[in-house]
Amino acid sequence: MHTTLILARGVLKELIRRKDFYLIFFFLLVIICSSASLSFGGETGFQRYFKEIGISFAYIFSVVIAVTFASAQIPREIESKTIYPILAHPVSRGDFIIGKFLGVLFVAAASFTLFYAVFIGSLHVKGDLSTPPTLLMQGYLFHICLLSFFVALCLLFSLFLTTTANMGISLILYFATDWFGATLPNYIYLPHPELFDIKDKIIHTQDIIPAWAASFLVLYAVIYTALFLMLAYMVFKKRNL
């Protein structure tokens, strides 16, 4: 467990070192400010539009961070050969996968927490308190579930794909399921990550999600995450390093 946490901490340090996080955060601020100032036909103060832009970009940017970090972790360790001293220590390949997963998930969740805090803060600044706080918290929780899903999926893909291809495919999967998930032909053998997206409920101030449905979604995320990590471990275990 200790070695897993050390690996996870290494990923977190990477977030602080890298400049792209600060750039993304700056972009988010610019986007939120510009959407707040939108005026059309002499009308201003479009609450739903503002919520849509704020929450969508908080979601998208955190997925971008999750995907870019998760895609690069294992290939970079192998490329720079730093994986050998790590595995030479008493670190099992399972610990390595779990450590990387926890690290990237923590990085993605921390970024999302900041983005979401900015979004909620901006709602307060605009005086829009129409959305129930419980619904906002559920939006936060389900997106963490989604991040967990994609981090595990990217770690699995990174064992087969180059970093760039992995990022591309994972982001396409995210956008495709989020935008077109409800219009794709009936399928049951593939996951439905769009179920974690409740932003329409938040934007249009609908009812909160009942506890039993929330529990189901958390279970759904846990099972898929475990499945992807298990597959990643099986592939990584067989890898000749």
């Binding site: 036909g41 009308e43 479009f46 409800a182 049951i188 934007i203 609908q206 999600i209 499945l227 298990m230």
Partner: protein, 275 residues
């Protein structure tokens, strides 16, 4: 961990996901035969504009996704229905609401997604406006964005803003019969018949060419064309220019024959012939 255990665990986890997904399938509606490839390669701007239009429709239905909301309206757009209705009131026809299954998975879906069809209240209606703005900013040749945006501005009592938006649309689409018709309609409602006739005559000329972007391809365009000719005919009648009015109705009749038009033509012929 043995390989057998791992394989069993993976198989178990995967098997567990299938029943979780099984009952969601009834909620997935296949979209109209819209060519996604054409959308993607036809230009990202056009795609964003189309997406903005769908967002406006979604907002009008309080977050109900576009395809679901059109399913409630027999495949039609409520925004378009209301704009061609021109009464300024929200009373478009609702189809029979799909009966929601009551099993556990449907309840989960209903709990996390917006599935019920309801509309914005008059006080909330301004929330659809930003999407028309985004629609025409991304695609200034999106005539539908100008027509609908102007309609909703007018519906909120913002007549001057509505006129300006239409004029902006005309600047970007100088050959659009729909925008000329909408401007003619604006001046007709404003009782400025001289200007209304100028715009409606131009609209009639463009409609009669029946070429892009004025080719009548759906019921909404057909209604717009009918309305433009009808207003023009009415204006000529009010000016006692019966021959012109009969000619306008006659032209429309040859393109879109119907009994009401025929009655108007017969009535005008009677007046012209002094009966």
């Amino acid at each position: 961990m043995t390989a057998r255990f791992l394989i069993t665990a993976v198989a178990f986890l995967y098997a567990a996901t299938i029943p979780m997904n099984a009952h969601f399938q009834r909620h997935f509606v296949s979209g109209k035969s819209r060519d996604i490839v054409q959308n993607i390669f036809g230009g990202l701007r056009g795609m964003v504009a189309d997406w903005s239009y769908m967002k406006a429709e979604e907002y009008h239905h309080r977050g109900l996704p576009f395809l679901k909301s059109t399913a409630y309206h027999q495949g039609e757009s409520a925004l378009m229905e209301e704009s061609v209705d021109r009464s300024g009131k929200s009373h478009h026809a609702h189809g029979e609401e799909p009966v929601a299954p009551s099993d556990f998975f449907s309840k989960v879906y209903d709990a996390v997604k917006v599935t019920g069809d309801s509309h914005l209240t008059p006080a909330e209606e301004k929330e659809v406006l930003p999407w028309f703005y985004v629609e025409v900013r991304f695609n200034p040749h999106d005539i539908r964005g100008y027509i609908l945006g102007a309609y909703w501005l007018k519906r909120m009592g913002k007549n001057a803003e509505s006129l300006n938006f239409l004029k902006e649309g005309l600047k970007n689409n100088p050959e659009s019969a729909q925008i000329f018709s909408a401007l003619g309609d604006y001046y007709y409602q404003d009782k400025d018949s001289d200007r209304a006739i100028i715009y409606l005559e131009r609209a009639k000329t463009l409609w009669s060419k029946d070429t892009y972007p004025n080719k009548v391809t759906d019921e909404y365009m057909k209604t717009d064309r009918f309305y433009a000719y009808d207003l023009l005919g009415d204006l000529y009648e009010k000016r006692r220019e019966y021959r012109k009015a009969a000619q306008v109705y006659g032209e429309l009749f040859s393109a879109d024959p119907n009994r009401i038009l025929l009655q108007k033509i017969m009535r005008l012929k009677g007046i012209i012939e002094g009966k």
